[in-house]
Symmetry: C2
Subunit: 302 residues, 2 copies
């Protein structure tokens, strides 16, 4: 699981800060999460292959989270894309995108599949044999979802020495990896645990931005390996956070602690602050494992 | 008159190239011409004061000429702007902008004044005592206008020594600068040319992008000081230029020559080419005074 931060600053793009966008690579998928203005250039800087992006998740319809989407859609078109593109986001995104295409007299050489969201309860947006993606309903000034990306349980690892002891034909190996016991020709049943090791741990990533401090999400993100949570403000501006429905670094850390996550990554910083180390220090008073996002930064999780 | 190129490359923004946007400073006005994705960041890089932009001219509704507009409008809002903003561009721009504002549950703290264009004949878009801005109808795949910015004739300069010879009261000086003759108390008429020098030459700037080679514009831009003309392709790709309704460097130079302009600036280069010196060389086979645009480049015209 690998996370590339394309942009992690609030509101307006500047010379040195980009609005929200990130790429999660998980089990051979490349998921784009949010798409602020300039995302396509940030994707190029991070050398993400455009053709591998098949799913884009938009948290909410504030400009700093989606104004780069139509440009990316247009660029896909110019690059001659033909693979379907799935876009998950609040209702309205389809109408807007289609109007933009109509006004520019453009069409896409590929299929645009919109999955418009309106529910206030978690919904599974994507599922295959390896991964699920679920919405995390958040509480912001407009309808907003975070996203929970979870690997499904991986297959067990063959204990090849044990397997060879029993003269088992290779065609049964997949069954063993799937957790099945084996009945030998003699009738003896060999339990799966004698033949396998536990699978590698399945990983999970929760993206939560933008939202006011919202403990209702804790149950859903419980024990997740990595939590990216917005921390627009420091605690000294907690009233401003409340008013604008954003979170402070301390509140984000409280969510991380109460949800018992493995690691907390803070982002969506207000550019009113000169530096962001104070965000880390403040969060660490509550929760130990805190990292700061930054544009272009890559996190690898094993 | 000063021109700042914010972006001058065709189609898709990349790490090193920005789509079309430029700022013309003329007689204390700051006019923004086109607004591709990333324009607000380019404005910051060029240190253009956001609050001084009161008029934005959009040539046509292709993404590389206007996808940065909504982000700029939003940023103006976040910066607490209250001055009116005038936006001149093809019909549809208002509907799209208002939909974007509605979906993002946003409003502007300032008045957005849309001037939607549909005419195929030149129209005066803006006029005050110093400057006029007129559309230059172009011929592209969608409805497109260039823009002609012209200083009005400046007032004549007082020949102060001559004026003092005649014991003329100061309250008449403005009349003299306006070109009027003066009748002395004695009844003697002093002709204006004895009292003044010719005014500084009025300057003009024509922006022509995007368009196929379109000699119909020559009459309108005749003798203009500076012509910015698109040159998406080199002559060896003239068929591609024709098909996509763009211009080659050679064709742009032919327009410059036939219109007898002072200087030609080439831009809107296709990023298929590795370098752009060949554009200059090709244009110079037809017209002498050729410059290449580049992102961040500033042209000062005296």
């Amino acid at each position: 699981m690998k996370l590339t931060i394309l942009g992690c600053y609030a509101a307006t793009p500047t010379k040195h800060t980009n609005p929200t966008a990130q790429v999660l690579e998980i089990r051979n998928h490349i998921f784009l999460i949010d798409c602020g203005e300039g995302t396509q250039v940030q994707l190029r800087r991070s050398k993400v292959k455009f053709s591998r992006i098949k799913h884009i998740f938009i948290s909410h319809l504030h400009g700093d989270h989606f104004y780069g989407l139509i440009g990316l859609i247009s660029t896909f078109m110019l690059l001659g894309r033909n693979a379907d593109l799935h876009i998950y986001g609040p209702k309205g995104l389809k109408e807007l995108t289609l109007l933009q295409l109509r006004l520019t007299k453009s069409w896409t050489s590929y299929k645009l599949c919109f999955h418009e969201l309106e529910s206030d309860a978690p919904e599974i947006l994507f599922e295959d044999e390896k991964v699920t993606v679920t919405t995390i309903p958040l509480n912001h000034r407009v309808y907003t979802n975070g996203f929970l990306f979870k690997e499904k349980e991986k297959e067990r690892k063959l204990n090849i020495n044990a397997v060879l002891n029993y003269d088992i034909e290779k065609c049964y190996y997949q069954n063993i990896k799937n957790g099945r016991d084996i009945t030998l020709d003699s009738g003896e049943v060999i339990s799966n645990e004698k033949l396998t090791f536990d699978p590698p741990k399945s990983q999970g990533y929760a993206f939560c931005s933008d939202t006011v401090y919202f403990p209702q999400i804790i149950d859903q993100i419980k024990d997740v390996d990595v939590l990216y949570h917005e921390a627009t403000f420091l605690d000294k501006h907690d009233q401003l956070a409340l008013k604008t429905k954003h979170t402070t670094a301390k509140q984000a850390a409280t969510i991380a602690k109460d949800a018992n996550v493995g690691q907390l990554i803070l982002g969506h910083f207000s550019t009113r602050y000169d530096g962001f180390n104070e965000f880390k220090e403040e969060a660490e008073t509550v929760f130990e494992n805190v990292a700061l996002a930054d544009d272009g930064k890559v996190f690898e999780f094993n």
